[in-house]
């Protein structure tokens, strides 16, 4: 399977050149770009690990691309996403987020069903890989 979180997961994996265009777009909008990585792609895993702080004063996408390749050296076996943060009043949240690195194999998620009364079912989604400890989930 393919985890399709983020804005561009239905497109073929982005090249660094393509990533650059999107990051520069965000920077030109005044948003702070940053990288986050994880080996737990659960749809509600909000807090991926931060690769440094958001770059609040960075005018050039090249700086983020440099960090991306540093991040890949350490976590290239997992998921890495670009996050663009907008601190404007009334938004103060993420404006764009897209995956820029993913494991070579994505085993996906187990859907567990707990049958409760009245034909209701309580559902739980679990990444198959999170049975392993953090850091040992993808190769």
């Amino acid at each position: 399977m393919r985890v399709t979180q983020g804005a561009f997961s239905f497109l073929p994996d982005l090249t660094d050149e393509q990533i650059h265009t999107q990051v520069q777009y965000c920077i030109d909008k005044g948003w702070a770009v940053s990288l986050e990585y994880t080996d737990d792609p659960h749809p509600r895993n909000t807090y991926w690990e931060m690769w440094g702080h958001p770059m609040f004063d960075n005018p050039d996408a090249a700086a983020l691309l440099y960090e991306l390749n540093e991040c890949r050296k350490q976590f290239g076996h997992g998921y890495i996403r670009v996050v663009a943060f907008d601190s404007t009043s009334g938004w103060e949240s993420v404006r764009l987020s897209f995956i820029v690195n993913r494991p070579s194999e994505e085993p996906g998620f187990r859907l567990s069903r707990q049958e409760v009364k009245g034909r209701s079912i309580q559902y739980t989604t679990t990444p198959y890989t999170t049975d392993q400890p953090e850091g040992q989930r993808y190769r």
Partner: protein, 488 residues
């Protein structure tokens, strides 16, 4: 009417002599009145009967929507009646429309109960629309003062928190209404939901008239839909949702259905505009208490919003709904099968999303409107749209919108999931191109064709719906610029 008649108000003892006095002489026409910052202002389009003075007609609307009745009553004098009288203060001929006038009427804030759309509308559209001296009457816009806006909850969740909950940023959300809208069993219905969500949509949607019918009762629908939602979520790693329509005959029924939806873990429920303003506000409060996104289908609005001479403009309904507290509202597609010219539709979208909407007559926005930090409301574009229009949709509607392709998903020649994938790929390719600085409106067809090279479902969708457009003149257009409908 640049030369407005001066105040005609009769004062003193003569004002309260028993009998009938023209409204314009009773204090409902005050051309020198300067609206206070705390006044509510309503802009009406009035069409007086032949021979009726437009100023008298405007004064009558002010009177009948505030304190007046058809004759003088002495009991006015027991009140601060000058404060409570609504005041028509300006009457302008409508450009290019003979016999029609824009009447500006100011209402004191104390005329209204805080936080009640029902109370507001009982005054503003309560009695006056059947008033005999008028051929027709339309409420075009309202200026709602901050002091009044602050008495409302506003959208239960809002655009930003909705995106945070869905973990979806930087692109329009994608949805589809399950079709056929009536007749599917719960089990078959859930199949459509599963295929569409797994294929790439964020949301599926019950149609307005799917409630609890012999072919599918509501509990069955909810159970099968949630199976589909969870299965699709596990298949994609994304948060998915389906608008479970909880519209029902009574509030008790609606609460029961909404609570069941919450118990099952749905992120969103849905109501229809026809349930009424009070029920909508009740559901908005329920949604805030229950971490639920609240989708509103504007079922029925066309009966009073579409004709320019009579009724209530949809821009006013959109304003009321943002106060009332829904999170999603259908606000037009521009290019689809339903009414909506580009400028007027832009005006509706701005009301949904702005922190402050400045006056913009070209878009039919007559007043500056402060939104006083009410949450933003997500506009929904639904009805006769398909992947081949993606560049136009993003151009007209922006990225904070739910694009709903019902037929444009389910009608795909290779199935529902393929239809969903086609839409998602078209969307992502177009947003990517826009961000990368391409002239995506002009290059739209090329961008789609490029994306289709690596996505067969998109190629098939483009071939199937090539050139499908709904190119009719709009009936509800701004009065201040020449307008045109958009063709695909």
């Amino acid at each position: 009417m640049n030369e407005q008649p001066k105040s005609l108000t009769v004062t003193g003892k003569a004002r309260y002599a028993a009998g009938v006095l023209e409204y314009k002489k009773m204090g409902y026409w005050e051309p020198d009145y300067e609206p206070k910052d705390t006044d509510i202002i309503a802009l009406f389009r009035i069409t007086p009967q032949d021979g009726v003075d437009p100023v008298e007609a405007a004064a009558a609307v002010a009177g009948e929507s505030s304190t007046a009745t058809w004759t003088v009553v002495w009991t006015d004098r027991l009140t601060a009646c000058e404060k409570y009288r609504a005041k028509a203060y300006r009457v302008d001929p409508v450009p290019g429309a003979d016999g029609q006038y824009f009447a500006y009427i100011a209402y004191d804030l104390d005329l209204f109960e805080p936080g009640s759309i029902a109370n507001l509308t009982a005054s503003i559209i309560g009695n006056v629309f059947g008033f005999k001296p008028l051929k027709a009457l339309r409420l075009e816009d309202m200026r709602l003062p901050v002091a009044y806006v602050k008495t409302f909850q506003g959208p239960a969740t809002g655009v930003v928190v909705e995106r945070e909950r869905l973990n979806c940023y930087g692109r329009p959300l994608l949805g589809a209404t399950v079709k056929p809208k009536l007749g599917l069993s719960g089990r078959n219905y859930g199949r459509v939901v599963y295929e569409a969500l797994k294929g790439g949509l964020d949301f599926t949607k019950d149609d307005e008239n799917i409630n609890s019918q012999p072919f599918m009762h509501w509990r069955d629908r909810f159970l099968y839909c949630m199976e589909a939602v969870n299965k699709a979520s596990a298949a994609t790693g994304e948060v998915k949702g389906t608008y479970l329509n909880v519209t029902a005959a009574t509030m008790e029924d609606m609460y029961e259905r909404a609570e069941f939806a919450a118990e099952l873990g749905s992120v969103i429920v849905m109501i229809d505009l026809v349930i009424g303003y009070t029920a909508i506000q009740s559901m908005a409060k329920w949604a805030r208490r229950n971490n639920m996104i609240l989708h509103l289908h504007r079922a029925g609005h066309g009966t009073y919003t579409r004709q320019k001479s009579h009724g209530v403009s949809f821009r006013v309904i959109a304003k009321w709904m943002r106060l009332a507290g829904v999170d999603h509202i259908h606000a037009g597609t521009v290019v689809g099968k339903l009414e909506g010219d580009p400028a007027t539709t832009r005006g509706y979208y701005d009301f949904c999303l702005d922190e402050f909407t400045p006056q913009n007559l070209q878009n039919g926005v007559f007043f500056d409107q402060h939104w006083a930090s009410l949450n933003k409301m997500m506009p929904v574009a639904s009805g006769g749209i398909h992947a081949g229009q993606m560049h136009q949709l993003i151009h007209h509607l922006g990225e904070d919108v739910v694009l709903q392709f019902g037929g444009g998903t389910i009608g795909h020649p290779h199935g529902i999931a393929a239809g969903a994938t086609a839409n998602r790929v078209a969307l992502e390719a177009m947003i990517f191109a826009r961000n990368a600085g391409r002239d995506f409106l002009a290059d739209g067809p090329t961008i789609l064709a490029e994306a289709a090279k690596t996505c067969t479902p998109l190629r098939q969708a483009l071939d199937t719906w090539k050139g499908v457009s709904f190119n009719y003149a709009s009936t509800d257009t701004p009065d201040f610029v020449p307008t045109a409908s958009v063709s695909a």
